[in-house]
């Protein structure tokens, strides 16, 4: 039952931010970017780190997608799908506020 995904809509106007108690840090000994959360540590791949870095509470999802599409010269629709899926997953784990 836990695997049943609950549809969480991510509005393009939402301004995602990390809540208190969740931090993205770079750590050489652990081999790169990690997301620190209550009693949990998640390894962030470079793409995930680029997305989370932009979740400052100021930029909208739309603006984040535009920025990533321009920075990495990638199709906007694909970036939008990736970003939306990742933000929804993080919010479900209480690692992000939307």
């Amino acid at each position: 039952m836990t695997d049943v995904p609950v549809a969480r809509t991510v509005s393009p106007d939402a301004r995602p931010r990390l809540p208190r108690g969740v931090r993205l840090v770079h750590n050489e000994a652990q081999g790169g970017w990690v997301l620190l959360a209550p009693e949990r540590v998640f390894k962030a791949d470079p793409i995930a780190a680029e997305i989370v870095k932009r979740c400052t509470g100021e930029a909208s999802v739309d603006a984040i997608v535009d920025d990533l599409a321009a920075t990495f010269n990638a199709p906007r629709e694909r970036i939008l799908a990736d970003v939306t899926a990742m933000l929804a997953g993080l919010a479900d784990k209480k690692l992000l506020e939307l």
């Binding site: 039952m1 049943v4 208190r20 108690g21 209550p38 540590v41």
Partner: protein
């Protein structure tokens, strides 16, 4: 994103800092050793600050400020500040008793990242009976309100056993009502004090089966609202837990007097030599202390672990449990159904005794 793992050269992620063994509560499943360390042997503030700096240098990301009750130390704010200044993620593991509004405010200003409060039951009278402290339940609720008012994330830790396992649903509801974003359903683990109280704590097989179904239903019901972390209780499992994520692989534990242990129960094993932060750096201990070398990796294993496909999944289970139940610290954790001693675990899981608790004092 996946939970972080390591290759051939493990670096620890977490440090459990047992700041003191003093505690106002007397829970009969306390993870502290039977021989509690006294106040006069405790490390001072400056030594803890050095340990935190050395831990960060070693790769540690999170420090769990624990005890005993950490608030029994008058320098808790300075200790927390030192951990924060060393760039560590700081987690306070507390009974709530002794954490005043003023203290919590100071901890928050010092950069505290997260608070975990233990709650003994969803019913006040039973909770206070288990904790051996009248009024504890009420104090925990008050602290939870103060934590969430400061927007510090809150985890409720619920240790489950025969007296409260039928109220898992009520415990999760309570955690949600208190504003927790995470709840740990932590079944009592039978070391130290809990081993002394095993017959009084052991749930029945029927209770365990019902609780497993209940947890799945709660996860579906509260998906996205609260994270529920739960595992099958040891004695009722088919495979052993990957104790501390593998010996000397992901975490270390510093006792109030500065001894560094691979896990909090490691002192129950015979013949291990523990080094102290008063005499050695943390990196030296992690890399070279005989206690950390003893069961690191897979070379120490015997059959059936040695040739098992899961040897790097669960690392043979728990060394302390293997020793406690078989008399051999290198044996397969007998929780594993492949262990020749597994039937004995099943027998022990069937022993329920309605004896009064032997409280931790």
């Amino acid at each position: 994103m996946d939970a972080a793992t390591h290759g051939s050269a493990p670096r620890p992620l977490g440090l459990l800092a047992e700041l003191t063994h003093r505690c106002p509560l007397a829970c009969p499943y306390c993870s502290n050793p039977l021989a509690l360390e006294g106040r006069t042997d405790e490390l001072d503030t400056a030594t803890w600050a050095r340990v935190f700096r050395e831990a960060a240098g070693l790769g540690v990301l999170q420090v769990h400020l624990s005890g005993g009750e950490p608030a029994a130390r008058r320098d808790l704010v300075e200790i927390t500040q030192a951990a924060h200044d060393a760039s560590l993620y700081t987690n306070l593991i507390t009974s709530a008793v002794g954490v005043t509004d003023k203290l919590l405010g100071g901890l928050s200003d010092a950069g505290l990242d997260h608070v975990q409060i233990s709650i003994q039951d969803s019913e006040a009278e039973s909770a206070d009976h288990i904790a051996g402290y009248k009024g504890a339940f009420k104090r925990k609720q008050a602290l939870a309100a103060q934590v969430t008012a400061l927007k510090i994330p809150l985890t409720v830790n619920a240790v489950m056993h025969r007296a409260n396992i039928d109220r898992i649903g009520e415990m999760v509801d309570l955690a949600l009502a208190l504003g927790a974003t995470r709840v740990e359903i932590a079944h009592a683990q039978y070391y130290g004090w809990a081993l002394k109280n095993r017959g009084a704590l052991m749930p029945t097989a029927e209770q365990v089966a019902r609780s497993t179904v209940a947890v799945e239903a709660l996860r579906a019901k509260y998906h996205g609202a609260i994270v529920i972390d739960a595992v099958v209780p040891d004695y009722h499992a088919r495979y052993p837990k990957a104790c501390v994520g593998g010996w000397g692989r992901r975490s270390l534990n510093v006792t109030p007097s500065g001894k560094v242990l691979p896990c909090h129960a490691a002192e129950t094993l015979p013949g291990l030599e523990f080094w102290n932060v008063r005499e050695h750096s943390l990196a030296d201990i992690w890399d070279n202390a005989p206690s950390f070398m003893a069961f690191r990796g897979t070379d120490w294993m015997q059959e059936p672990c040695r040739s098992c496909a899961r040897r790097e999944v669960d690392f043979g289970g728990c060394r302390c449990q293997a020793f406690a139940l078989t008399g051999d610290a290198r044996a397969t954790d007998p929780v594993c159904h492949l262990s020749p001693h597994h039937a004995h675990v099943g027998e022990l899981a069937g022993v329920q005794e309605d004896a009064p608790y032997t409280y931790r004092r």
